[in-house]
């Protein structure tokens, strides 16, 4: 391998890992909702889109940096998630219907409304937040003059990645150390046992949906400095969230992180070596392969088989 080829490969992998960190955040939100509620949220990407528009409005009207808007968008999304769960999803879970997947279809309806309303308010134009650091990058040769190859690290991508890691660590702390977090995990593991132990399962569901929404909302704010925004963007991120959850094994937070990183790198490789347009196909190839060959997720491969 010649050094330019190596450069391209390494650069592609770095870009993939940075992207994967953000994907992981989206996936964790999804896996939290799936684990606790046992439902699939097909409006996940649309929730992210809502957060991105919040960040966009804050930037374009009040010149608030997208990274700061996390602190407003995440609580708003939490509230939105709670309302959706309480007034739409919970009632549907009680309805007796022939089609068992009616709650999945419900979230499709929610997604349609959200993206269409966004299109009405903001039109279908592509938007972005042209922050002045958007093209800044760090170069390997700046640090190490004699480096045989040149690699760069985009500043907004790196900052977003660090934010994603911080949020993930905070979430881990919440789930592992706080009483509320422990109750959420108990609900995810065994709803009936949790009920017997005095956990208010209904409340935990509402909190989890809110939390999952605010996580994907935070991911949205981290994406907007490096991504274009348009009303229909949600769908593809919903699918990305799914692929990650399937890859990582359902309901596993660590799995979602691993799944996110793998997907990020894989997409980055597909985009570089096959073509930009094919990256989504690569995504689904991984999805289908994971469904067939590792139904328990990547992590199940490392567990001891007995």
């Amino acid at each position: 391998m010649t050094s330019p080829q190596l450069e391209v490969l390494l650069q592609t992998i770095i870009a993939g890992l940075l992207l994967g960190g953000l994907y992981a955040l989206i996936g964790i939100g999804m896996t939290l909702i799936m684990g606790v509620m046992k439902i699939i949220n097909l409006a996940h990407g649309e929730l992210m889109m809502v957060a991105m528009y919040i960040a966009y409005v804050l930037y374009s009207s009040f010149h608030i940096d997208p990274y700061l808007s996390v602190f407003l968008a995440a609580p708003v999304l939490f509230l939105l998630g709670v309302l959706l769960q309480k007034y739409l999803i919970t009632p549907v879970l009680r309805v007796d219907a022939i089609i068992p997947e009616n709650q999945v279809i419900l979230t499709v309806g929610i997604g349609m409304v959200l993206s269409n309303v966004a299109a009405i308010i903001f039109s279908s134009d592509y938007r972005s937040t042209p922050v002045d650091y958007s093209t800044k990058a760090w170069y390997l040769t700046d640090i190490w003059k004699g480096s045989p190859i040149e690699l760069s690290l985009s500043m907004p991508w790196s900052v977003s990645f660090v934010f994603a890691v911080l949020i993930t660590v905070a979430l881990w702390f919440f789930l592992a150390k706080t009483d509320l977090g422990k109750s959420i995990r108990a609900t995810a593991q065994d709803k009936d046992a949790a009920t017997l132990m005095g956990v208010n399962v209904g409340f935990m569901r509402i909190v989890s949906f809110g939390l999952g929404s605010s996580l994907v909302g935070a991911a949205g704010c981290l994406f907007i400095p490096i991504y274009y925004l348009y009303p229909d963007l949600g769908g593809q991120f919903t699918l990305i969230a799914f692929v990650i959850t399937i890859l990582g094994g359902l309901g596993s937070t660590v799995g979602a992180i691993v799944g996110g990183l793998i997907l990020g790198v894989f997409e980055s490789l597909t985009a570089t070596y096959i073509g930009m347009g094919w990256a989504p196909v690569g995504r689904f190839v991984i999805f289908v392969l994971a469904l067939i060959f590792i139904p328990g997720g990547i992590l199940s491969l490392f567990k001891r088989r007995r």
């Binding site: 022939i98 089609i99 499709v108 997604g111 409304v113 269409n116 073509g275 196909v281 469904l291």
Partner: protein, 314 residues
């Protein structure tokens, strides 16, 4: 009682006479679209309503039928009408592969798999520019008829055949097996039902019928592109809505649903300011139906009648 038995024939007869009444071209067009959606809805209902396997990717079959017709015309210079017979084996093979991959997944995972399939096909069609023409789509430059009457009769025949076939299937052993699988897969297995086989049969039948509708669409509209025929919201989700609004696991449901959905879409689109918001209306309608009439108008008819009866006495 007798009236109920003959109702499908009476409706078919009346519809067949319609073009002779001097109905406007626009009305005829709307009717053609309603009937086409009935066909797709009936097909989805067989798999989702009766067999309980919810597909979020019927656009995959619809688009595949449409592209089969379009490519026969574009690449081989054949009439796009050949797409109707030829789409049958093409879509069957595709459905078999899809069934092999996804039917081992239960419940929501099957739904997700089908959803992914629809998106994969759209992106593939967009990117294989040499073969499919990519985003430019396929256009049939010389239309078979300018007048819509024959298109109307063709889709009407397709719908009548579909209705008949599905009714026969549902009332036969297949129908019993499909519903048994929907209600409890383990119980079905223990009753000697090869659940994988029968789910595959339901999927293939449903896919082929949807593909035929797609092939018809190519001929009728004369233009397709990946975003139109492989659309997630405007094809796959609308298909589900047609069935959910009309009535899950009923014979008349998809037809009622198609009528409501197409008329609603036409009305919304005709109002200039509201046209943009038609997904919002559809989404809200979907949410309302799921919460209040989960089995659709035909499926929850007894419940609806009760509500109206109460309204009258109050």
């Amino acid at each position: 009682m007798d009236l109920k038995k003959y109702a499908p024939f009476i409706i078919l007869g009346l519809l067949a006479l319609l073009p002779l009444t001097g109905i406007s071209t626009y009305m005829l067009h709307v009717l053609i679209i309603v009937i086409m959606w009935s066909v797709i809805g009936m097909a989805w209902n067989l798999l989702g309503g009766y067999c309980g396997q919810v597909s979020f990717g019927h656009a995959a079959f619809f688009g595949m039928g449409a592209y089969t017709a379009g490519l026969l015309y574009e690449k081989l210079g054949m009439s796009a009408w050949w797409g109707l017979p030829i789409s049958v084996p093409v879509v069957t093979v595709f459905a078999l592969v899809m069934g092999f991959i996804f039917l081992r997944l239960r419940g929501p995972f099957f739904a997700l798999g089908t959803l992914a399939m629809g998106v994969i096909l759209r992106i593939t069609a967009e990117n294989l520019t040499g073969f499919t023409g990519g985003d430019l789509g396929i256009m049939i430059r010389e239309r078979t008829w300018v007048d819509k009457t024959w298109y109307f009769y063709i889709i009407l025949i397709l719908a009548a055949v579909t209705y008949y076939v599905i009714k026969k299937v549902v009332e036969s052993k297949l129908g019993y097996y499909f519903v048994a699988i929907r209600e409890d897969q383990d119980a079905a297995e223990s009753l000697g039902i090869d659940t994988t086989l029968y789910k595959t049969i339901a999927l293939c039948l449903s896919a082929v019928i949807t593909g035929l509708a797609g092939a018809f669409y190519m001929n009728y509209m004369g233009y397709i592109d990946p975003k139109v025929v492989f659309a997630l919201h405007d094809i796959s989700v609308v298909t589900i809505m047609v069935v959910m609004v009309g009535g899950v696991a009923t014979f008349s449901g998809p037809i009622i649903g198609a009528l409501i959905m197409v008329l609603l879409a036409e009305v919304i689109r005709s109002i200039p300011k509201l046209g943009m918001a038609h997904h919002t209306f559809f989404g809200i309608l979907l949410i309302v139906i799921i919460i209040f009439l989960p089995n659709g108008i035909a499926g929850d008819w007894p419940k609806l009648k009760k509500i109206f009866a109460k309204g009258k006495t109050a």
